[in-house]
Symmetry: C2
Subunit: 333 residues, 2 copies
């Protein structure tokens, strides 16, 4: 049975006893109809065996009310919170939001981007650090959050924390408490957020007239608890001397704290530790952690606002939003 | 410019100098081609201005290599871990996986299901508890994880933890340690996982010859830290007497522990607490928590295996997988 042949929205509207405009609203989940009307239209669709011609409609309007979100690591609460906030806000506006978890893989991201292109989404939210979706795909409204694409251009719209200031505040906090040899633990990749945090760290040390020890920059290949634990353990075993550690995420700080506990180094007495993100675990952990709070709610709100403006053909209020961060002082400094 | 008119896969294959089968493989992300071939095909597609006729192809084969995952709460690590494992495994098999976060909303889930239907996905993974996707949509291979749909039928394929045994083990643990008045904190909705955990709790009390106090079942409207904190605080303020609390998730237990701390009730001395899930926070929290470990890796593996079997037209190995759980004893009992 060729389901879509000969059955039009008009047929559905006649069966359901509503206007074709209403049928269209129901099919596109645009709201503005009662649940009873929805039920009648859906029943009529089933009765008629109608399959909306997504492709034809999509080509005509050139997009569908779908939005893609590219996210690198859905189990990191910092990312999952952004995704949740963005999804809930966009759902209220009638969009179906598809979350695409790339697991930090460039290839996976490319696959998703071309699939989303085929799906004719009308907007994209990108937390990536890799490909520049904007170059491959200039006509789809796109908002970047958190990480800059590799090839930053003037054209992109990006919402980010003031990461440089975050790195600065974290480092200032431990210098203020008398630390002399401040180490930093970060992603080995040159991701914009990390680069900015490192730059803040460097600047704070310089401004304080302290010394920046080049051998006190520690890297992890993958940003997680286990890799942080290993990196810090190795640093100690190879004789690195430091009295404070700035971590570019809370999960890195969690792994570091475990390494110090194992090595019987008391925190904060002999070692001060600062995280970054202010996710739940930093608050509820055995040793509640001093960290840099990122305003996830504000970032998500701005991203949704700007994306909807773009979808509606309006210019962005701003191309570049820098959201303030703040130091949350707990028991590791 | 009418992009898709007159341009066929054949044209692309001629421009790229590869077979039409290869063009198809590249467009559908099926792997089995070099990155150089991919680049050539993609360049040819751009040169020709070709838009793959998703709809037409979809109708012919009746599906595309897209898979939807319905998930109720992406910021709960228990769910996000399942989603991550499932997504990574399916990506390896060449599928694009779209994560649909319903925020526990029935309406949002229905919207997603009909959108996914329009997208002609070839498979669905459903963590829901609401609608029975299988009834609305009998021909799409579907695997349920964790929660049963409201109208359970013989036909569905479901992978779940042995929740009843989990509730039993949790309760047995505190009874064994001498607790007499064991309370339980759970979702107010009748979700299958919760119902089974409650049943295990009830059975353990019965088997031990202890008393089941009906006023010691506490409910939350939304399963999170804050609601748990409130519910337990209210229970204490209204004079409920209990010496142990079984919580149906780790986040509920976190909120409960906070309430006991505020009320100066020492855990585990005067109050024993058991969580459920064994997410990171249960291990790293100030008071590492006794909890029931759910084998997320095994559940995800089974779900992916069964889904791929169904997509390939093979019967499931089993319709109903019950994955064992285990008690992880830490410092709250």
């Amino acid at each position: 049975m060729k389901k879509s042949s000969g059955i039009s929205m008009k047929t559905i509207s006649e069966i359901a006893g509503v206007s074709t405009a209403t049928v269209s609203r129901v099919i596109n989940h645009l709201g503005g109809f009662s649940s009873e009307t929805q039920k009648r239209v859906e029943t009529a669709i089933r009765e008629a065996g109608y399959v909306p011609n997504v492709m034809a409609r999509g080509l005509r309007k050139n997009s569908l009310p779908y939005i893609g979100i590219i996210v690198p690591d859905i189990i990191n609460e910092y990312f999952s919170k952004i995704v949740l906030r963005v999804q809930v806000a966009l759902a209220k506006e009638g969009y179906s939001v598809f979350i695409c978890n790339t697991d930090e893989s460039r290839r996976q991201e490319q696959t998703y981007l071309s699939t989303l292109k085929n799906m004719m989404i009308c907007g994209l939210v990108c937390i990536s650090g890799y490909g520049n979706a904007k170059e491959d795909w200039p006509d789809v409204p796109t908002v970047y959050i958190d990480r800059h694409p590799e090839h930053k251009t003037e054209q992109i719209t990006i919402i980010e924390s003031d990461n440089r200031n975050g790195g600065y505040q974290a480092t200032e906090e431990v210098l203020r408490r008398g630390c002399k040899r401040v180490a930093i633990l970060m992603d080995s990749r040159q991701i914009s957020t990390c680069v900015a945090r490192f730059e803040g760290y460097r600047q704070a040390i310089e401004d304080a007239g302290a010394t920046l020890y080049e051998d006190l920059t520690f890297h992890v290949q993958k940003v997680d608890f286990q890799n942080a634990f290993q990196a810090v353990t190795t640093a100690m075993q190879t004789g690195k001397k430091f009295d404070a550690l700035i971590c570019t995420t809370d999960w890195l700080a969690m792994g570091a704290l475990k390494a110090f506990e194992r090595a019987n180094i008391p925190v904060p007495e002999q070692m001060k530790v600062v995280g970054f993100d202010n996710i739940s675990i930093s608050e509820y952990a055995a040793k509640p952690m001093t960290t840099i709070h990122q305003d996830v709610d504000e970032m998500s709100r701005l991203a949704v606002d700007e994306l909807i403006r773009m979808i509606n053909g309006k210019p962005c209020l701003r191309k570049h939003w820098m959201v303030p961060v703040s130091l949350v002082r707990r028991s590791t400094t």
